[in-house]
Amino acid sequence: SQKTIMARRYDSSTTTFSPEGRLHQVEYAIEAINNAGTCVGILASDGIVMASERRVTSGLLAPAKTSEKTYKLSGHAACNVAGLTADANILIDRVRLRAGQYQYQYQEPIPMEQLVEYVCDYKQYFTQFGGLRPFGVAFLFAGYDEHYGFQLYQSDPSGNYSGWKATVIGANNQAGKSLLKSEYKKTEGTGGDDEGKIPTVQEALQLAVKVLNKTMDGTAASVEKMELFTLTRKDNKKDCVHHILTESEAQAVVDAVAAEAASSGDS
Protein backbone atom coordinates (compact mmCIF):
# COMPACT_ATOMS: atom_id res chain seq x y z
CA SER A 1 0.00 0.00 0.00
CA GLN A 2 1.67 3.27 1.10
CA LYS A 3 5.13 1.77 1.47
CA THR A 4 5.11 0.01 -1.91
CA ILE A 5 3.93 3.18 -3.66
CA MET A 6 6.71 5.16 -1.99
CA ALA A 7 9.36 2.63 -3.02
CA ARG A 8 8.24 2.82 -6.66
CA ARG A 9 8.51 6.59 -6.77
CA TYR A 10 12.19 6.41 -5.85
CA ASP A 11 12.77 3.54 -8.23
CA SER A 12 11.62 5.21 -11.40
CA SER A 13 13.74 8.32 -11.25
CA THR A 14 17.39 7.43 -11.74
CA THR A 15 18.52 10.73 -10.39
CA THR A 16 16.90 10.41 -6.97
CA PHE A 17 18.26 8.69 -3.92
CA SER A 18 16.04 6.27 -2.06
CA PRO A 19 15.49 6.84 1.70
CA GLU A 20 18.18 4.22 2.34
CA GLY A 21 20.61 6.22 0.23
CA ARG A 22 20.60 3.93 -2.81
CA LEU A 23 20.13 4.52 -6.54
CA HIS A 24 17.76 1.74 -7.45
CA GLN A 25 17.93 2.15 -11.22
CA VAL A 26 21.69 1.74 -11.10
CA GLU A 27 21.34 -1.40 -9.01
CA TYR A 28 18.76 -2.81 -11.42
CA ALA A 29 21.15 -2.15 -14.29
CA ILE A 30 23.86 -4.08 -12.44
CA GLU A 31 21.36 -6.91 -11.99
CA ALA A 32 20.76 -7.02 -15.75
CA ILE A 33 24.45 -7.69 -16.23
CA ASN A 34 24.45 -10.57 -13.80
CA ASN A 35 22.29 -12.41 -16.31
CA ALA A 36 24.65 -11.79 -19.22
CA GLY A 37 27.38 -14.04 -20.58
CA THR A 38 30.39 -14.35 -18.28
CA CYS A 39 33.64 -12.52 -18.97
CA VAL A 40 36.91 -13.33 -17.24
CA GLY A 41 39.90 -11.00 -17.28
CA ILE A 42 43.34 -12.02 -16.05
CA LEU A 43 46.48 -9.87 -15.91
CA ALA A 44 49.50 -11.96 -16.87
CA SER A 45 53.19 -11.17 -16.66
CA ASP A 46 53.52 -10.72 -20.43
CA GLY A 47 50.01 -9.70 -21.44
CA ILE A 48 46.31 -9.90 -20.64
CA VAL A 49 43.81 -12.68 -21.20
CA MET A 50 40.07 -12.08 -21.57
CA ALA A 51 37.80 -15.07 -21.93
CA SER A 52 34.08 -14.87 -22.47
CA GLU A 53 31.10 -17.15 -22.74
CA ARG A 54 29.54 -17.21 -26.19
CA ARG A 55 25.80 -17.61 -25.83
CA VAL A 56 24.32 -19.05 -29.02
CA THR A 57 20.62 -18.33 -28.77
CA SER A 58 19.61 -20.04 -32.00
CA GLY A 59 21.09 -22.40 -34.56
CA LEU A 60 19.50 -20.27 -37.26
CA LEU A 61 21.74 -17.30 -36.51
CA ALA A 62 24.14 -16.41 -39.33
CA PRO A 63 27.78 -17.06 -38.50
CA ALA A 64 29.28 -14.06 -36.78
CA LYS A 65 31.65 -11.87 -38.80
CA THR A 66 32.62 -9.95 -35.72
CA SER A 67 32.68 -10.77 -32.06
CA GLU A 68 29.80 -9.70 -29.87
CA LYS A 69 32.01 -9.84 -26.80
CA THR A 70 35.47 -8.55 -27.65
CA TYR A 71 36.10 -5.15 -29.21
CA LYS A 72 39.26 -3.39 -30.26
CA LEU A 73 39.31 0.18 -28.98
CA SER A 74 42.67 1.24 -30.39
CA GLY A 75 46.07 -0.21 -31.20
CA HIS A 76 46.85 -0.70 -27.53
CA ALA A 77 43.46 -1.32 -25.91
CA ALA A 78 40.55 -3.75 -26.13
CA CYS A 79 37.46 -4.51 -24.08
CA ASN A 80 35.05 -7.28 -23.23
CA VAL A 81 31.34 -6.59 -22.84
CA ALA A 82 28.77 -8.04 -20.46
CA GLY A 83 25.22 -6.77 -20.73
CA LEU A 84 23.14 -5.05 -23.39
CA THR A 85 25.14 -5.14 -26.63
CA ALA A 86 23.22 -2.22 -28.12
CA ASP A 87 24.15 -0.04 -25.14
CA ALA A 88 27.73 -1.23 -25.38
CA ASN A 89 27.98 -0.24 -29.05
CA ILE A 90 27.22 3.39 -28.21
CA LEU A 91 29.91 3.52 -25.54
CA ILE A 92 32.46 1.71 -27.70
CA ASP A 93 31.94 4.16 -30.56
CA ARG A 94 32.53 7.06 -28.16
CA VAL A 95 35.68 5.60 -26.65
CA ARG A 96 37.13 4.66 -30.05
CA LEU A 97 36.62 8.23 -31.18
CA ARG A 98 38.17 9.58 -27.97
CA ALA A 99 41.22 7.33 -28.29
CA GLY A 100 41.68 8.47 -31.89
CA GLN A 101 41.31 12.13 -30.94
CA TYR A 102 43.85 11.79 -28.13
CA GLN A 103 46.33 10.09 -30.44
CA TYR A 104 45.83 12.83 -33.03
CA GLN A 105 46.18 15.64 -30.52
CA TYR A 106 49.13 14.36 -28.51
CA GLN A 107 50.69 12.00 -31.07
CA GLU A 108 50.82 9.22 -28.49
CA PRO A 109 48.38 6.52 -27.38
CA ILE A 110 45.84 7.44 -24.70
CA PRO A 111 46.90 6.17 -21.23
CA MET A 112 44.61 3.35 -20.11
CA GLU A 113 43.23 5.02 -17.02
CA GLN A 114 42.24 8.12 -18.97
CA LEU A 115 40.46 5.94 -21.52
CA VAL A 116 38.52 4.08 -18.80
CA GLU A 117 37.76 7.27 -16.91
CA TYR A 118 36.32 8.84 -20.05
CA VAL A 119 33.82 6.00 -20.52
CA CYS A 120 32.95 5.96 -16.85
CA ASP A 121 32.39 9.71 -16.63
CA TYR A 122 29.92 9.38 -19.50
CA LYS A 123 28.16 6.46 -17.79
CA GLN A 124 27.96 8.42 -14.53
CA TYR A 125 26.21 11.29 -16.31
CA PHE A 126 23.19 9.06 -16.85
CA THR A 127 22.92 8.37 -13.13
CA GLN A 128 22.71 12.01 -12.18
CA PHE A 129 20.97 13.99 -14.91
CA GLY A 130 18.06 14.05 -17.22
CA GLY A 131 15.68 11.19 -16.44
CA LEU A 132 17.46 8.77 -18.76
CA ARG A 133 18.24 5.23 -17.77
CA PRO A 134 21.81 4.10 -17.10
CA PHE A 135 23.74 1.96 -19.63
CA GLY A 136 23.18 -1.72 -18.92
CA VAL A 137 26.80 -2.62 -19.62
CA ALA A 138 29.81 -3.72 -17.65
CA PHE A 139 33.21 -3.67 -19.32
CA LEU A 140 36.53 -5.33 -18.84
CA PHE A 141 39.18 -3.04 -20.32
CA ALA A 142 42.57 -4.48 -21.21
CA GLY A 143 45.41 -2.34 -22.44
CA TYR A 144 49.03 -1.39 -22.42
CA ASP A 145 50.66 1.98 -21.94
CA GLU A 146 54.24 3.01 -21.29
CA HIS A 147 53.38 4.47 -17.87
CA TYR A 148 52.02 1.40 -16.10
CA GLY A 149 52.47 -1.46 -18.54
CA PHE A 150 49.63 -3.95 -18.93
CA GLN A 151 46.47 -3.02 -17.03
CA LEU A 152 43.06 -4.57 -16.50
CA TYR A 153 40.05 -2.47 -15.47
CA GLN A 154 36.42 -3.26 -14.71
CA SER A 155 33.58 -0.76 -14.97
CA ASP A 156 29.86 -1.01 -14.21
CA PRO A 157 26.69 1.02 -14.95
CA SER A 158 27.26 3.31 -11.99
CA GLY A 159 30.36 4.74 -13.65
CA ASN A 160 32.59 3.21 -11.02
CA TYR A 161 35.83 1.60 -12.16
CA SER A 162 38.71 -0.23 -10.54
CA GLY A 163 41.93 -1.89 -11.59
CA TRP A 164 42.21 -5.66 -11.18
CA LYS A 165 44.78 -8.42 -11.35
CA ALA A 166 41.98 -10.84 -12.19
CA THR A 167 38.22 -10.48 -12.17
CA VAL A 168 34.95 -11.84 -13.51
CA ILE A 169 31.78 -10.09 -14.67
CA GLY A 170 28.45 -11.47 -15.86
CA ALA A 171 26.64 -14.61 -14.82
CA ASN A 172 28.02 -16.50 -11.78
CA ASN A 173 30.79 -13.98 -11.31
CA GLN A 174 30.98 -14.67 -7.56
CA ALA A 175 31.85 -18.30 -8.19
CA GLY A 176 34.43 -17.26 -10.73
CA LYS A 177 35.99 -14.68 -8.44
CA SER A 178 36.35 -17.14 -5.56
CA LEU A 179 38.16 -19.56 -7.87
CA LEU A 180 40.49 -16.79 -9.01
CA LYS A 181 41.23 -15.82 -5.43
CA SER A 182 42.68 -19.21 -4.71
CA GLU A 183 44.29 -19.92 -8.07
CA TYR A 184 45.63 -16.63 -9.41
CA LYS A 185 48.83 -16.38 -7.45
CA LYS A 186 50.11 -19.74 -6.37
CA THR A 187 53.03 -19.53 -4.00
CA GLU A 188 55.84 -21.76 -5.14
CA GLY A 189 56.26 -23.87 -2.01
CA THR A 190 58.95 -21.91 -0.14
CA GLY A 191 57.99 -19.78 2.85
CA GLY A 192 59.72 -16.46 2.25
CA ASP A 193 58.20 -15.33 -1.04
CA ASP A 194 54.72 -14.11 -0.17
CA GLU A 195 54.23 -12.57 -3.60
CA GLY A 196 53.79 -15.82 -5.45
CA LYS A 197 54.09 -16.17 -9.18
CA ILE A 198 51.98 -14.13 -11.57
CA PRO A 199 50.88 -16.42 -14.41
CA THR A 200 52.14 -16.07 -17.97
CA VAL A 201 49.64 -15.62 -20.79
CA GLN A 202 49.64 -19.36 -21.50
CA GLU A 203 48.99 -20.18 -17.84
CA ALA A 204 46.37 -17.44 -17.63
CA LEU A 205 44.53 -18.92 -20.62
CA GLN A 206 44.22 -22.21 -18.81
CA LEU A 207 43.11 -20.48 -15.63
CA ALA A 208 40.49 -18.55 -17.61
CA VAL A 209 39.12 -21.77 -19.07
CA LYS A 210 38.95 -23.24 -15.56
CA VAL A 211 36.94 -20.23 -14.42
CA LEU A 212 34.58 -20.51 -17.39
CA ASN A 213 34.14 -24.21 -16.65
CA LYS A 214 33.00 -23.24 -13.19
CA THR A 215 30.68 -20.41 -14.19
CA MET A 216 29.03 -22.02 -17.20
CA ASP A 217 26.37 -23.95 -15.30
CA GLY A 218 28.53 -26.94 -14.59
CA THR A 219 28.38 -28.12 -18.22
CA ALA A 220 31.83 -28.71 -19.67
CA ALA A 221 32.81 -25.56 -21.51
CA SER A 222 33.49 -26.50 -25.13
CA VAL A 223 35.35 -24.46 -27.68
CA GLU A 224 32.21 -23.28 -29.55
CA LYS A 225 30.82 -21.80 -26.35
CA MET A 226 33.83 -19.69 -25.42
CA GLU A 227 35.97 -16.96 -26.87
CA LEU A 228 39.59 -16.61 -25.75
CA PHE A 229 41.36 -13.33 -26.40
CA THR A 230 44.94 -12.28 -25.63
CA LEU A 231 46.58 -8.87 -25.70
CA THR A 232 50.35 -9.01 -25.94
CA ARG A 233 53.26 -6.98 -27.27
CA LYS A 234 55.68 -7.99 -29.95
CA ASP A 235 59.12 -6.44 -30.42
CA ASN A 236 58.19 -3.34 -28.42
CA LYS A 237 56.00 -2.18 -31.28
CA LYS A 238 53.61 0.69 -30.66
CA ASP A 239 50.56 -1.43 -31.48
CA CYS A 240 49.77 -4.45 -29.35
CA VAL A 241 48.89 -7.85 -30.78
CA HIS A 242 45.14 -8.46 -30.45
CA HIS A 243 44.43 -12.15 -30.95
CA ILE A 244 41.25 -14.20 -30.64
CA LEU A 245 42.34 -17.82 -30.46
CA THR A 246 41.45 -20.00 -33.42
CA GLU A 247 39.37 -23.11 -32.84
CA SER A 248 42.45 -25.35 -32.78
CA GLU A 249 44.39 -23.06 -30.45
CA ALA A 250 41.42 -22.84 -28.07
CA GLN A 251 40.97 -26.59 -28.21
CA ALA A 252 44.59 -27.05 -27.16
CA VAL A 253 44.00 -24.92 -24.06
CA VAL A 254 40.78 -26.76 -23.19
CA ASP A 255 42.55 -30.09 -23.63
CA ALA A 256 45.41 -29.00 -21.39
CA VAL A 257 42.96 -28.00 -18.66
CA ALA A 258 41.08 -31.29 -18.96
CA ALA A 259 44.34 -33.24 -18.79
CA GLU A 260 45.45 -31.40 -15.67
CA ALA A 261 42.10 -31.98 -14.00
CA ALA A 262 42.20 -35.66 -14.85
CA SER A 263 45.74 -36.21 -13.57
CA SER A 264 45.47 -34.21 -10.36
CA GLY A 265 41.97 -35.33 -9.44
CA ASP A 266 39.83 -33.35 -7.04
CA SER A 267 41.87 -31.48 -4.46
Partner: protein, 225 residues
Protein backbone atom coordinates in the same frame (compact mmCIF):
# COMPACT_ATOMS: atom_id res chain seq x y z
CA UNK B 1 69.95 53.80 -45.12
CA UNK B 2 66.82 52.11 -46.37
CA UNK B 3 65.30 49.56 -43.93
CA UNK B 4 65.27 45.97 -45.14
CA UNK B 5 61.84 44.35 -45.04
CA UNK B 6 61.69 40.61 -45.24
CA UNK B 7 59.28 39.55 -47.95
CA UNK B 8 56.62 36.92 -47.45
CA UNK B 9 57.86 33.80 -49.15
CA UNK B 10 55.62 31.55 -51.16
CA UNK B 11 54.51 28.79 -48.76
CA UNK B 12 54.29 26.21 -51.50
CA UNK B 13 57.98 26.56 -52.39
CA UNK B 14 59.54 27.65 -49.10
CA UNK B 15 60.60 24.18 -47.96
CA UNK B 16 61.24 22.77 -51.43
CA UNK B 17 60.84 19.13 -52.36
CA UNK B 18 59.43 17.15 -55.27
CA UNK B 19 57.81 13.79 -55.86
CA UNK B 20 57.11 11.65 -58.92
CA UNK B 21 55.06 8.51 -59.35
CA UNK B 22 54.82 6.24 -62.39
CA UNK B 23 52.70 3.27 -63.37
CA UNK B 24 54.02 0.02 -64.77
CA UNK B 25 52.63 -3.41 -65.53
CA UNK B 26 50.92 -4.38 -62.27
CA UNK B 27 53.29 -2.14 -60.30
CA UNK B 28 53.84 1.50 -59.34
CA UNK B 29 56.98 3.46 -58.52
CA UNK B 30 57.16 6.46 -56.22
CA UNK B 31 60.23 8.71 -56.05
CA UNK B 32 60.67 11.33 -53.30
CA UNK B 33 63.57 13.68 -52.78
CA UNK B 34 65.46 14.42 -49.57
CA UNK B 35 65.92 18.16 -49.31
CA UNK B 36 64.31 20.10 -46.48
CA UNK B 37 65.19 23.76 -46.75
CA UNK B 38 64.20 27.26 -45.76
CA UNK B 39 64.23 29.18 -49.00
CA UNK B 40 67.64 28.82 -50.57
CA UNK B 41 69.24 27.59 -47.34
CA UNK B 42 69.34 23.81 -46.93
CA UNK B 43 68.35 22.77 -43.40
CA UNK B 44 68.24 18.99 -43.33
CA UNK B 45 68.54 15.95 -45.54
CA UNK B 46 65.59 13.73 -44.77
CA UNK B 47 63.15 11.76 -46.86
CA UNK B 48 59.88 13.46 -47.80
CA UNK B 49 57.04 12.29 -45.58
CA UNK B 50 55.23 9.22 -46.83
CA UNK B 51 52.15 7.69 -45.22
CA UNK B 52 51.73 3.98 -45.70
CA UNK B 53 48.58 2.48 -44.15
CA UNK B 54 49.52 -0.88 -45.64
CA UNK B 55 52.01 -2.12 -48.22
CA UNK B 56 49.79 -1.61 -51.29
CA UNK B 57 49.09 2.09 -50.93
CA UNK B 58 51.20 5.17 -50.20
CA UNK B 59 50.65 8.89 -49.86
CA UNK B 60 53.61 11.18 -50.51
CA UNK B 61 53.49 14.79 -49.38
CA UNK B 62 55.25 17.86 -50.67
CA UNK B 63 54.80 21.51 -49.78
CA UNK B 64 55.01 23.55 -46.60
CA UNK B 65 56.51 21.17 -44.03
CA UNK B 66 54.31 22.29 -41.14
CA UNK B 67 51.18 21.70 -43.17
CA UNK B 68 52.59 18.40 -44.43
CA UNK B 69 52.86 17.17 -40.84
CA UNK B 70 49.37 18.42 -39.98
CA UNK B 71 47.80 16.80 -43.01
CA UNK B 72 49.73 13.56 -42.52
CA UNK B 73 48.60 13.30 -38.89
CA UNK B 74 45.00 14.19 -39.73
CA UNK B 75 44.93 11.64 -42.55
CA UNK B 76 46.54 9.01 -40.37
CA UNK B 77 43.94 9.54 -37.63
CA UNK B 78 41.07 9.20 -40.12
CA UNK B 79 42.51 6.11 -41.76
CA UNK B 80 43.19 4.43 -38.41
CA UNK B 81 39.66 5.05 -37.17
CA UNK B 82 38.25 3.36 -40.24
CA UNK B 83 40.49 0.36 -40.75
CA UNK B 84 41.75 -0.64 -37.31
CA UNK B 85 38.48 -1.67 -35.71
CA UNK B 86 38.27 -5.38 -35.98
CA UNK B 87 39.85 -7.92 -33.69
CA UNK B 88 38.65 -11.01 -35.53
CA UNK B 89 40.61 -10.27 -38.68
CA UNK B 90 43.90 -9.42 -37.03
CA UNK B 91 45.35 -8.95 -40.47
CA UNK B 92 44.05 -5.42 -40.70
CA UNK B 93 41.41 -4.30 -43.06
CA UNK B 94 42.85 -2.58 -46.09
CA UNK B 95 41.96 0.79 -47.52
CA UNK B 96 42.04 0.99 -51.31
CA UNK B 97 44.00 3.74 -53.07
CA UNK B 98 40.92 5.38 -54.56
CA UNK B 99 39.21 5.49 -51.17
CA UNK B 100 42.31 7.05 -49.66
CA UNK B 101 42.44 9.59 -52.48
CA UNK B 102 38.81 10.54 -51.85
CA UNK B 103 39.49 10.85 -48.13
CA UNK B 104 42.53 13.06 -48.76
CA UNK B 105 40.58 15.20 -51.17
CA UNK B 106 37.79 15.57 -48.60
CA UNK B 107 40.15 16.64 -45.82
CA UNK B 108 41.85 19.15 -48.10
CA UNK B 109 38.58 20.68 -49.30
CA UNK B 110 37.34 21.04 -45.70
CA UNK B 111 40.04 23.70 -45.47
CA UNK B 112 38.93 25.50 -48.63
CA UNK B 113 39.13 28.93 -46.97
CA UNK B 114 42.59 28.51 -45.46
CA UNK B 115 44.20 25.57 -47.21
CA UNK B 116 46.93 23.16 -46.28
CA UNK B 117 49.83 24.18 -48.55
CA UNK B 118 50.40 20.57 -49.46
CA UNK B 119 50.15 18.68 -52.73
CA UNK B 120 49.78 15.00 -51.87
CA UNK B 121 50.29 12.12 -54.27
CA UNK B 122 48.20 9.01 -53.64
CA UNK B 123 49.67 5.93 -55.32
CA UNK B 124 49.00 2.24 -55.02
CA UNK B 125 47.60 -0.93 -56.45
CA UNK B 126 43.84 -1.08 -56.77
CA UNK B 127 42.51 -4.61 -56.34
CA UNK B 128 40.18 -5.69 -59.11
CA UNK B 129 38.34 -9.01 -59.15
CA UNK B 130 38.77 -11.09 -62.28
CA UNK B 131 36.13 -13.18 -63.99
CA UNK B 132 37.57 -16.36 -62.49
CA UNK B 133 37.37 -14.93 -58.98
CA UNK B 134 41.06 -14.14 -58.49
CA UNK B 135 42.38 -10.65 -57.83
CA UNK B 136 44.50 -8.53 -60.14
CA UNK B 137 46.09 -5.27 -59.18
CA UNK B 138 45.79 -2.22 -61.34
CA UNK B 139 48.10 0.74 -60.79
CA UNK B 140 46.44 3.78 -59.28
CA UNK B 141 47.96 7.27 -59.41
CA UNK B 142 46.33 10.43 -58.14
CA UNK B 143 47.69 13.92 -57.56
CA UNK B 144 45.74 16.45 -55.51
CA UNK B 145 46.09 20.19 -55.51
CA UNK B 146 46.01 22.20 -52.28
CA UNK B 147 42.22 22.20 -52.09
CA UNK B 148 41.71 18.58 -53.05
CA UNK B 149 41.12 18.46 -56.78
CA UNK B 150 42.08 14.97 -57.92
CA UNK B 151 44.08 14.37 -61.11
CA UNK B 152 44.20 10.71 -61.93
CA UNK B 153 46.46 9.18 -64.53
CA UNK B 154 47.40 5.78 -65.84
CA UNK B 155 50.91 6.97 -66.70
CA UNK B 156 52.54 9.31 -64.17
CA UNK B 157 51.83 12.08 -61.69
CA UNK B 158 54.18 14.58 -60.06
CA UNK B 159 54.17 17.44 -57.57
CA UNK B 160 56.51 19.88 -55.88
CA UNK B 161 58.90 22.62 -56.86
CA UNK B 162 60.38 20.69 -59.79
CA UNK B 163 57.01 19.56 -61.12
CA UNK B 164 57.28 21.59 -64.34
CA UNK B 165 60.56 19.85 -65.18
CA UNK B 166 59.20 16.51 -63.97
CA UNK B 167 56.27 16.70 -66.37
CA UNK B 168 58.83 17.03 -69.15
CA UNK B 169 61.27 14.29 -68.12
CA UNK B 170 58.49 11.85 -67.19
CA UNK B 171 56.64 12.42 -70.47
CA UNK B 172 59.83 11.73 -72.38
CA UNK B 173 60.83 8.64 -70.41
CA UNK B 174 57.53 6.84 -69.76
CA UNK B 175 56.26 4.08 -71.96
CA UNK B 176 53.50 1.53 -71.35
CA UNK B 177 54.07 -2.01 -70.11
CA UNK B 178 57.12 -1.35 -67.93
CA UNK B 179 58.04 -4.26 -65.70
CA UNK B 180 59.20 -3.74 -62.09
CA UNK B 181 62.96 -3.36 -62.64
CA UNK B 182 62.53 -1.29 -65.82
CA UNK B 183 60.00 0.93 -64.05
CA UNK B 184 62.47 1.62 -61.24
CA UNK B 185 65.13 2.62 -63.77
CA UNK B 186 62.82 4.85 -65.82
CA UNK B 187 61.24 6.55 -62.82
CA UNK B 188 64.54 7.05 -61.05
CA UNK B 189 66.26 8.49 -64.11
CA UNK B 190 63.40 10.85 -64.96
CA UNK B 191 63.27 12.02 -61.35
CA UNK B 192 66.97 12.66 -60.95
CA UNK B 193 67.21 14.42 -64.32
CA UNK B 194 64.70 17.03 -63.14
CA UNK B 195 66.19 17.26 -59.63
CA UNK B 196 69.69 18.03 -60.77
CA UNK B 197 68.52 21.23 -62.46
CA UNK B 198 66.40 22.39 -59.51
CA UNK B 199 67.91 24.34 -56.66
CA UNK B 200 65.12 23.62 -54.19
CA UNK B 201 65.08 19.82 -54.58
CA UNK B 202 67.72 17.16 -54.40
CA UNK B 203 70.25 15.82 -51.92
CA UNK B 204 69.35 12.30 -52.94
CA UNK B 205 66.12 10.42 -53.58
CA UNK B 206 64.23 7.43 -52.25
CA UNK B 207 62.49 5.20 -54.72
CA UNK B 208 59.66 2.85 -53.71
CA UNK B 209 58.45 0.22 -56.16
CA UNK B 210 55.18 -1.39 -55.12
CA UNK B 211 54.04 -4.64 -56.66
CA UNK B 212 51.42 -7.08 -55.42
CA UNK B 213 53.87 -9.37 -53.66
CA UNK B 214 56.42 -6.93 -52.22
CA UNK B 215 57.76 -3.40 -52.07
CA UNK B 216 61.35 -2.45 -52.85
CA UNK B 217 63.07 0.62 -51.43
CA UNK B 218 66.03 2.04 -53.34
CA UNK B 219 68.27 4.92 -52.30
CA UNK B 220 69.46 7.09 -55.18
CA UNK B 221 72.37 9.51 -55.08
CA UNK B 222 72.60 12.75 -57.01
CA UNK B 223 74.27 16.14 -56.80
CA UNK B 224 74.23 17.36 -53.21
CA UNK B 225 73.33 20.92 -53.89
Amino acid sequence: PKPFYAQQQDPTTLNGGSVLAMAGDGCVALAVDMRFGSGLQMVNVMSRHVLRPHPNVMVAFTGLEGDVLSLKQALHAQVESKIRRSVLNSAKRKISPRTLASLTSHILYNRRQSPYFVEPLVVGLEPEPCQDGSLTYKPFLCACDVIGAQSKSGEFVCAGVASKSLYGTAEAAWRPGLKREELAQVCGKAFLAALERDSLSGYGAKLYVISSDRTIEIDLACRDD
